[in-house]
């Protein structure tokens, strides 16, 4: 019996890879995992199922009956419930108040509601106490409140968006026990994740989504993490291989014993040391949330390290502010271009100035040089093939790939000697991807040092001269991109291997291995790319 069936779902946004011809069938009484990398389109799909967005094409069927949702309220009425990655609870209200909020009509707000909450809590083993203030609860307990909230509203199908991202391993186990209770009662769970070990241990069915479309399904009992990783990463993309090595022995960036702690004292970056030479691309592999964002922030100067040094050419830049670093030749292609790379509502030429306002051709002294800045924007648009009718349109009206080409063009125009490239081709279509790779390769030939962070293992292996693996804030392993395979790298990313990776020596990752980076992740990096 099918609980939910999505068929041929397509969703277009101006400019981003959203969903294309997605098929998903969830059986009653099962946990169905939806896996895929960040930005693959999982969140968009779930927003469609939850009525937050309407698909351009395709059908949704609940219990075999075709439906059309125009708001989450419709979805809730049909028994679909969503537990968001970021909890939507009011801290200063009690659990009871949070649960009944907005659903006062169901069971009132008093003893009847309390009874109902206790009943649900006992039936599914959630252990929720109705009269505790939410602010007194820990993360795992809050999550159970969210689940209860959804059940209270009569959900028969629960969507859990990256539920384990905020949990420690023991809590993950407890959550999985809860999920098993739910499915024993005949409820269905859609479990979104990119953590393969967890998925294999809890799911009954798996659907893999890549670049906005479903690329396959898997049966956990017959699948290894290796196979799943292969499905997730894919291999039909144009290969980003670099022909000959251009690595020199001139050190451009030297990081020594870099350490950065979260306010609670937990190390986000722990004893990070590496050197990037002129003409070298250093690739950092890792499951998202293991310190990549923090590393980039520390290098560009958005956060300052607690200890350790960063040397750029012959200068100690550890204490330099962001602007000084950029002026001296640090280029930055940010992970989230909408948050860190663009002013979406400003025209393209203002976006060309962003980040380089103190440099030529953007300014003369304290004054902006609009004429030259605009002229140079035209040059970038032409050289980097940014598809736009002009430079006065807002950045928001360009497609994701063209926005990214503008950013790459802008950063390259200032001839950086060190480039931070965080997911340089994320959410970018295949054509633009190849162009961006070309630009990075070309600059590398001219002696650019690049720090490359990517979730696309093919890109990482193909572009990098040296590979390091980051896990839980530490660089735990290194590998030679000439010999390593995506699968071997993938298992090292789960923390299963360390030291120098030789392909032959990689042990098979056990299916139950925890690959959760736990609380090391910052909220931003956990967020699925907003779309």
């Amino acid at each position: 019996m099918t609980a939910v069936e999505l068929a041929g779902i397509t969703k277009r946004f101006p400019g981003v890879v959203a969903n294309h011809d997605i098929h998903l069938t969830v059986r009653k009484g099962t946990v169905h995992a939806l896996v895929g990398e960040n930005g693959a389109g999982k969140s968009t799909l779930m927003k469609i199922l939850y009525g937050m967005q309407k698909p351009d094409e395709g059908t949704i069927a609940i219990d075999g009956e075709q439906v059309s949702f125009s708001s989450p309220a419709d979805a809730i009425a049909r028994g679909i419930g969503m537990v968001h990655q970021h909890f939507m609870l009011a801290d200063n209200l009690t659990v009871l108040e949070n649960v009944v909020l907005g659903s006062e009509k169901l069971h009132g707000i008093g003893s009847r509601a309390r009874r109902k909450i206790k009943e649900i809590s006992e039936r599914y083993g959630l252990g929720v106490r109705p009269d505790v203030l939410v602010e007194e609860l820990g993360v795992a307990a809050r999550q159970r409140v969210e689940i209860l909230k959804v059940l209270y509203r009569g959900a028969r199908t629960l969507i859990l968006d990256e539920p384990t991202a905020v949990l420690v391993p023991q809590e993950v186990d407890a959550l999985f026990d809860n999920l098993r209770e739910l499915k024993a009662e005949g409820l269905s769970v859609i479990f979104i994740s990119h953590k393969l070990g967890e998925v294999l241990s809890v799911a009954d069915d798996i659907t893999v989504i890549r670049r906005g479309t479903t690329v396959g399904t898997a049966v956990p009992a017959e699948t290894t993490p290796r196979q799943l990783a292969e499905l997730m990463v894919g291999s039909e993309l144009p290969t980003p291989e670099t022909a000959e090595s251009t690595v020199t022995d001139r050190a451009v960036l030297t990081v020594e014993a870099l350490r950065l702690s979260a306010p609670g004292g937990k190390a986000l970056l722990d004893d990070i040391s590496f050197t990037i030479h002129a003409g070298e691309v250093l690739g950092i592999a890792g499951v998202e949330g293991n310190g990549q964002t923090e590393l980039v922030d520390a290098l560009i100067g958005l956060r300052h390290a607690d200890s350790g040094t960063i040397r750029f050419l012959d200068q100690d830049i550890t204490a330099l502010p962001t602007r000084k670093r950029r002026e001296q030749g640090v280029g930055y292609i940010p992970e989230d271009r909408h948050r860190h790379g663009l002013l979406l509502e400003a025209p393209l030429w203002e976006n060309r100035i962003l980040g380089h306002v103190t440099e030529k051709p953007n300014s003369k002294g304290v004054w902006l040089d609009l004429k030259n800045a605009q002229q140079d924007t035209r040059r970038i648009v032409e050289t980097y093939d940014v598809r736009t009718p002009g430079i006065d349109v807002t950045a928001a009206s360009l497609s994701g790939g063209n926005q990214q080409k503008l950013i790459v063009g802008r950063e390259m125009s200032h001839h950086p000697r060190f480039l931070i490239a965080a997911h340089p081709t994320r959410g970018v279509d295949v054509g633009a991807q190849a162009a961006i790779w070309d630009h990075i390769r070309e600059a590398r030939r001219e002696g650019l040092a690049v720090l490359l962070i990517s979730a696309d293992l093919d890109e990482l292996i193909g572009l990098s001269d040296t590979l390091r693996v980051i896990y839980d804030g530490k660089l735990v392993a290194d590998a030679d991109p000439a010999t390593i395979t995506p699968e071997a790298l993938g298992s090292a990313m789960t923390g299963a291997a360390s030291g120098h990776l030789e392909d032959e020596e990689i042990p098979e990752t056990p299916a139950g291995a925890t690959d959760s980076p736990k609380s090391a992740a910052s909220p931003e990096s956990l967020e699925d790319e907003a779309r």
């Binding site: 277009r12 962001t322 602007r323 670093r325 400003a346 306002v357 032409e382 349109v393 807002t394 063209n402």
Partner: protein, 374 residues
């Protein structure tokens, strides 16, 4: 590319026009609901605007509104809400009045001294909120509201006869300023005098535009307002920018009371106009933080203020003008957001359409592989 420029102008004008139309209609409804003619009050007020003495009053009043609104607008441009302009300009006017009453330098020094006193006082007062925000994370909204009331208390203290106060009848004043600190007006004959500092307001407007649109600092400030995260990544120090913007906003606010102080009253008394800072918020909103828009908005507000007393003589309540000001602010907020979103979406569609039609800037090859389906 002129198309997109023209479109931007259209969008900029559409917001206020819609808002004003809605506000007029709503005010008319209020009039009808209270059983009065919905047209005559407006006719009377328009007629008032034709009299030259009223025009002088409007310009004088508008100059103060204008400076106050600029002070608010500079904060708005980087998402800072300086509600404290009210306290800042009153305190600044008072300190300027006190310095003006006690120091007696030649006019060439006295006038700059008074202006500087006002700027520094305003900046100091807003700077308190700025420092609280960047060091302790206190919301500038809360801090500036509190500082408004503290300013009132400080003013009350400074008015004490033992401090700087001079009692004239029942009125508290700060004593008359020395004449070297008076700024002569522009004589308009029988219609009265336009304050000399109206020119300062105009200059401030030009300066505001230049700094925001033509300097590196202005770019950084606007970037911070548009996206704090992108500005930080571009190299703006967010804390320093908050403090700087707060200080500039307060400094400007400090000047808001000076046209009347140095041009007319020459003392800071109980009769000194209050509430200009709060009106400045609405005016900055209506003027979309643009120096030209704010000028129109300030004149509109001043007109509503100065033309409405006439209504009392014709059996209408002059408060209709206040109701209208309120309705304008409400409709402005709604209409601007609607127009903004509509404009963005429209442009996205049009860019898509232009690209699909092959109008690509500097396109050499017309391969459209990337354009398809966007």
């Amino acid at each position: 590319m002129k198309k997109f420029d023209k479109e931007r102008v259209l969008l900029a004008v559409a917001g206020p026009v819609i808002a004003l139309a809605v506000a007029f209609v709503l005010s008319a409804i209020v009039l009808v609901a209270s059983g009065k003619s919905p047209v005559e009050p407006f006719a009377l007020m328009f007629e008032q605007a034709g009299f030259s003495d009223i025009q002088v009053l409007i310009v004088n009043q508008a100059s103060m509104y204008y400076i106050a609104a600029l002070a608010v607008a500079i904060g708005f441009r980087m998402n800072l809400f300086n509600i404290g302009v009210d306290g800042q300009y009153q305190l600044a006017a008072m300190t300027a009045a006190i310095v003006g009453a006690h120091a007696d330098l030649p006019a060439a020094l006295q006038v700059p001294l008074l202006l500087l006193t006002a700027v520094l006082t305003g900046a100091f007062w807003s700077g308190i909120a700025g420092v609280l925000k960047i060091t302790r994370g206190v919301s500038e909204v809360v801090a500036t509201i509190m500082l408004n009331s503290i300013a009132t208390a400080v003013i009350g203290y400074l008015w004490l006869p033992d401090v700087f106060g001079v009692k004239i009848g029942n009125n508290n004043t700060t004593g008359e300023m020395h004449e070297s600190g008076w700024i002569p007006g522009i004589d308009m004959g029988a219609s009265g005098e336009i304050y000399g500092l109206v020119i300062l307001a105009v200059l401030l407007g030009i300066g505001y535009w230049l700094v925001l649109n033509r300097t590196r600092f202005g770019f950084d400030l606007r970037a911070s307002g548009a996206s704090e995260s992108a500005a930080a990544a571009s190299g703006v120090d967010p804390k320093r920018m908050v403090l700087t913007a707060m200080l500039i906003s307060g400094g400007l606010a400090g000047l808001a009371g000076l046209p009347i102080l140095m041009g007319d009253t020459h003392t800071y008394s109980l009769n000194f106009p209050t509430g200009i800072g709060f009106l400045g918020i609405g005016i900055a909103l209506l003027g979309r933080n643009s120096p030209v828009g704010i000028a129109f908005a300030a004149l509109l507000w001043a007109w509503l203020d100065k033309a409405s007393p006439e209504l009392d003589f014709h059996g209408y309540d002059k408060e209709i003008a206040v109701i209208m000001q309120g309705l304008i602010v409400l409709s402005v907020v709604v209409s601007y957001e609607a127009v903004r979103e509509w404009g963005l979406r429209r442009q996205q569609r049009r860019v898509g359409a232009e690209l699909a039609a092959g109008h690509v800037l500097g396109a050499t090859d017309n391969s459209k592989k990337e354009v398809a389906g966007r």
